[in-house]
């Protein structure tokens, strides 16, 4: 009987194809992977059922400096449409911290209250940052003493070709304006650190007189305070000279400004309840701005996060590098 092609041989070919596919997919990294689920319409809020489409990962964080030895964890989800990407973060925090040095009237003079704010930040690569994929923030933000890309508490990248996109959600300074501060990271110089604000306007305005002894602004007539009783810069007017305050009155010190241009690309929504934060950040996949990472849904992105619990930049909880990929 001549050697004929049969089902048996067909099976052999199929096995080859399976082996082929297997060879291409079996290789994987051990890093934590955040899979962004594709959805037709983006979530409209923190409790939108669309979030059920995405699988949450628990991102572990290690405390640094005053938080050394402590751990934190953030449940993280992501979804995307053909236009935008959305992140949802949930973490435990027994204290709502939005003071950020707010003024308090003591009866005869104003004083800053003690207290900082809660924050979460994300760092993506715009252009590849050398070894960021393996070492994350340890090579750009929390570098060892003497590192070439850090000086006097400031940090940046080692070369101008390396650029990072830093998303910075601040409970007191950006969230009341409905945004996360959109900044970017470039090479540190002798004069300046590598952290830059994106093009456009935003940030916050310090509410103080020339001699820094008292607040300069108060809510404009007809304007109410924003989220967490924070005064927005757009709603503020100068305090009249005949204004009388009662003991215990408070006024915002860092007034969030309206974020416009590239700096206002990241929309934010948040809720503090039950001893924890829920924060949603969203941004266009590709803003077209050079100071933003452009998300291509065919590729993977490395990013790392930092959590600040009523603390300044030096005291944070940091995550390892996470891989973002689009399902």
């Amino acid at each position: 009987m001549p050697f004929q092609f049969s089902n048996r041989h067909c099976s052999v070919y199929l096995l080859m194809i399976v082996a082929l596919l297997w060879s291409g997919t079996a290789l994987g990294a051990s890093k934590q992977i955040l899979e962004a689920a594709e959805v037709k319409a983006g979530p409209t809020g923190l409790d939108d059922a669309i979030w059920n489409e995405a699988e949450a990962i628990q991102v572990p964080f290690e405390g640094k400096e005053v938080f050394a030895g402590q751990k934190a964890s953030v449940a993280t989800k992501a979804v995307y449409t053909d236009q935008a990407i959305y992140f949802l973060f949930k973490w435990k925090d027994p204290t709502l911290s939005v003071v950020k040095g707010a003024w308090k009237y003591g009866g005869s003079k104003w004083e800053h209250q003690k207290g900082n704010e809660d924050r979460i930040s994300l760092l993506f690569e715009i252009n590849r940052i050398n070894n960021f994929a393996t070492k994350g923030c340890a090579i750009v933000c929390h570098v060892p003493p003497g590192a070439s890309n850090a000086k006097n508490g400031k940090f940046g990248t080692s070369t101008a070709a390396e650029k990072g996109d830093l998303w910075h959600w601040k409970a007191a300074r950006s969230d009341p304006a409905g945004v996360a501060d959109d900044t970017w990271l470039t090479k540190i110089t002798d004069e300046k650190g590598g952290r830059k604000s994106d093009d456009g306007s935003g940030g916050d305005q310090r509410n103080m007189t020339e001699d820094k002894s008292a607040p300069k602004y108060m809510p404009a007539p007809g304007q109410t305070l924003g989220k967490h009783d924070i005064l927005l810069a757009a709603h503020a007017v100068e305090i009249p000279s005949d204004m009388v305050f009662k003991t215990g009155d408070t006024l915002t010190y860092r007034m969030p400004k309206k974020h416009e241009g590239s700096r206002g690309d990241i929309q934010a929504e948040s809720h503090y309840a039950g001893g924890g934060w829920t924060v949603m950040l969203s941004r266009a996949l590709d803003t077209g701005n050079e100071d933003d990472v452009a998300f291509n849904t065919r590729r993977k992105y490395n990013f790392a996060m930092a959590l600040f619990d009523d603390s300044g930049d030096e005291n944070s909880y940091d995550s390892e590098v996470i891989t973002l990929q689009f399902k």
């Binding site: 009987m1 596919l21 291409g24 079996a26 990294a29 050398n130 070894n131 590729r299």
Partner: protein, 365 residues
């Protein structure tokens, strides 16, 4: 019972090789006329015997896709990864072309092994096809060298650390190991010199050697013809013109293979890991499927026995591959008459499969 055809003739005229009345060289002025005069065994176009043609199609696709990738590639550690990343995600059809290059070598290796096994079972390594077998074996041995040199080029974690593992294994080979590594690396570390050398080997030296082997292989196939059918002693007497029948069949194979690879690349894009970080010694590369059994041997034989896994056993297997035509003293090419050879070959194949499964279990479970 029909007497098997004589297997000792070296003539092209044994009814299975290319046949032109005489095996004259093609006139340079009229290659088409030469092609039109050439006839060959009808079995050449049986698609279950067209593995060699498929392999040639894959090699052509690898050369073409490799040339495309070379347009964008920058063989410097600082930019190699970015250039591959650009090719994959920015260049027009870059992901498809990169995918073709990635999947084609997998398929090439699988089909070459299949081709070898079939040739082994058919007894086609025996006289007069010894040189056909040896040239084919040389091609098989060359393929891993392509993979080894190609893996480093994207300068990603997997490629970099896989190369480190392979270099450490090569270095353990007695006498020649360390000098070989030094020549490949061009220094103490895997850096820009190593990347340049791997690149030149991958796109220049190895392709030239492969091309020579392929030409030799097809020359021997043309001269000595196809092997007899495995399950029959009959031989097809019908002959078909090389042009256009065989050429058209090959072009069709090229097209179908290309389409298959395009689909694979589209639905399962080729992987690109994180950029290489030579300071990150915590990264443990996972061996690829074709090297699982070798990896497992290295894991089994340790200390003073390591040389068994890194050198002796692979060396003996390679030696057996090339010596097989001279070792086989069986009276006939039919499988039933070569039980001892097939049992030994089956035992070796079983050992490779078991070791590969053990490796898979260790690294992927």
């Amino acid at each position: 019972m029909m007497k098997p055809a004589s297997r000792t003739s070296v003539s092209h005229d044994n009814g299975r090789g290319l046949h032109m009345g005489t095996m004259e060289a093609p006139a340079l002025s009229s290659p088409m006329a030469w092609l039109k005069r050439t006839a060959t065994d009808r079995d050449v176009c049986a698609w279950n015997r067209f593995v060699g043609g498929t392999l040639l199609a894959l090699v052509v696709l690898l050369f073409l896709s490799g040339a495309f990738l070379a347009f964008y590639y920058s063989p410097v550690p600082g930019t190699a990864y970015d250039s591959v990343d650009f090719t994959l995600f920015e260049a027009p059809f870059g992901n498809i072309i990169k995918g073709i290059h990635h999947y084609a070598w997998n398929l090439l290796l699988v089909l070459t092994i299949f081709h070898l096994v079939r040739t082994l079972v058919a007894g086609a390594y025996r006289t007069p096809r010894r040189l056909t077998w040896i040239s084919g074996g040389t091609i098989l041995v060359l393929l891993p060298l392509f993979i080894i040199t190609g893996d480093l080029l994207p300068w990603d974690q997997r490629g970099y650390w896989s190369t480190q593992v392979r270099l450490s294994i090569i270095a353990s080979i007695p006498l020649i190991g360390e000098i070989t590594v030094r020549v490949l690396q061009g220094g103490a570390l895997t850096g820009i010199v190593a990347l340049t050398r791997f690149y030149v080997l991958h796109i220049l030296f190895l392709p030239c050697i492969l091309l020579g082997c392929i030409v030799a292989h097809f020359y021997f196939v043309a001269r000595h013809g196809l092997a007899e059918r495995v399950m029959t002693t009959s031989s097809s007497a019908k002959r078909i013109p090389f042009w256009p029948r065989v050429v058209n069949r090959w072009l069709l194979t090229l097209l179908v293979t290309a389409l298959l690879l395009v689909m694979l690349s589209h639905f399962w894009p080729p992987p690109l890991g994180d950029p290489a970080d030579p300071t990150d010694s915590t990264y443990i590369p996972k061996p690829e499927w074709w090297v699982l059994f070798l990896n497992q041997m290295v894991a089994i034989f340790k200390g003073k026995w390591a040389v068994l896994g890194t050198t002796v056993i692979p060396g003996v297997l390679t030696g057996l591959l090339f010596m097989l035509p001279f070792l086989d003293r069986s009276p006939d090419y039919r499988p039933a008459q070569r039980r001892m050879i097939l049992v030994v070959a089956g035992g070796i194949a079983a050992g490779i499969i078991v070791l590969s499964l053990m490796g898979y279990s260790e690294h992927f479970s």
